[in-house]
Amino acid sequence: MHISEGVLSGSVLAAGAVIAIAGTGIGLKKIEYDRIVHVAILAAAFFVASLIHVNIGPGSAHLILNGIVGLLLGFAAFPAILTALLLQSVFFQYGGLTVLGANVVVMAVPAVMVHYFFLPLVGKSPRLTFAAGFLAGLVSIFFSACLLGTALWLTDENFFETIIAIFMANIPIMIIEGIVTGFCIAFLLKVYPEIIPVKKK
């Protein structure tokens, strides 16, 4: 899901950076004092998730976990994802520094969206909680793939074949991510409900 250096055009990179800065600013402002540790935990989980690879057929895929980060953090997902992506870029050469803004937008915007779409379902019943987690994981990857495709398409319309290939490669990740997020949310609701904002109200 990480876009590499030198792929996107200057205007797309600039737009990505502006949206990422704006989102991070809003996110930092919205973080409550008591939730700072939760943001760190989820940023660390996001940072590590990309390093765990699952073999699917001839290729391999890795978890992204932007669904769970967004569902639990809302706008605070922006600074969490920015920090994790920055460290991934520096330590493991995932993505790159010039493309950091675009990568943050690709992963954080869907994360914020799923927070507002599916958080109201969490805690209503065990089934709805799992469904909310599943959909958050699935939909966040779906929208991330859409945003990634849009960024590539805005750079060059000839990328269309690549966009289709990326989208197809992400279909199994959507399902896996949905299942993982569903179980995680159901588990967290039982053992650590404080991390779920809905339970606090």
Binding site: I36, A40, A44, F47, L51, H53, L87, Q88, F91
Partner: protein, 160 residues
């Protein structure tokens, strides 16, 4: 007398088959596909131009790439980087045999080929296959350190 002699000679030479340097015309044809420039070279007689030099220059005449055609008269190469003008591909198939083809700059937008994408994906997979444990722990430590700093800085606000 001399004038008549010259006219007769000119008339005779007019019927002599002339074998100029352009008798074996060579043609080079080039096109762009998946980040590569492909060329096909042949003589006017459809005979392939084998082992002929391909010289790629910009409009100022600066040489950007050179190569030699294969047994089929073909030669392919990657689009040169940082192109500022149209590309002129010159085929030199021996003394006096030269053909040219111009590729407009607009056609030279580098689109990564499938091989490029596969190679970079392979490289990425290799890189991702062996993340350093030390770096993972360093990353997690940095994240929590940042959280602690933010918590410390905003502690007064948090107490209110």
């Amino acid at each position: 007398m001399n004038i008549i002699y010259i006219i007769i000679c000119a008339f005779i030479f007019n019927f002599v088959p002339v074998n100029t340097a352009f008798a074996h015309k060579v043609i080079v044809f080039a096109w762009v596909e998946e980040g590569m420039i492909h060329t096909e070279s042949q003589f006017g007689s459809k005979r392939k131009a084998i082992d002929s030099a391909i010289i790629v220059t910009d409009e100022k005449g600066q040489i950007l790439h050179e190569g030699v055609t294969d047994a089929q008269g073909n030669y392919s190469f990657k689009i040169p980087e940082s192109i500022e003008s149209d590309l002129i591909i010159t085929l030199k198939a021996g003394i006096g045999h030269q053909g040219q083809w111009r590729i407009p700059k607009a056609d030279l937008i580098q689109v990564p080929s499938k091989d490029d994408i596969k190679a970079s994906m392979k490289e990425k997979q290799n890189l991702e296959a062996s993340p350093s444990i030390l770096k993972i722990f360093a990353g997690i430590a940095i994240i929590f350190s940042m959280a602690l700093v933010i918590k410390f800085v905003t502690r007064k606000k948090g107490r209110k």
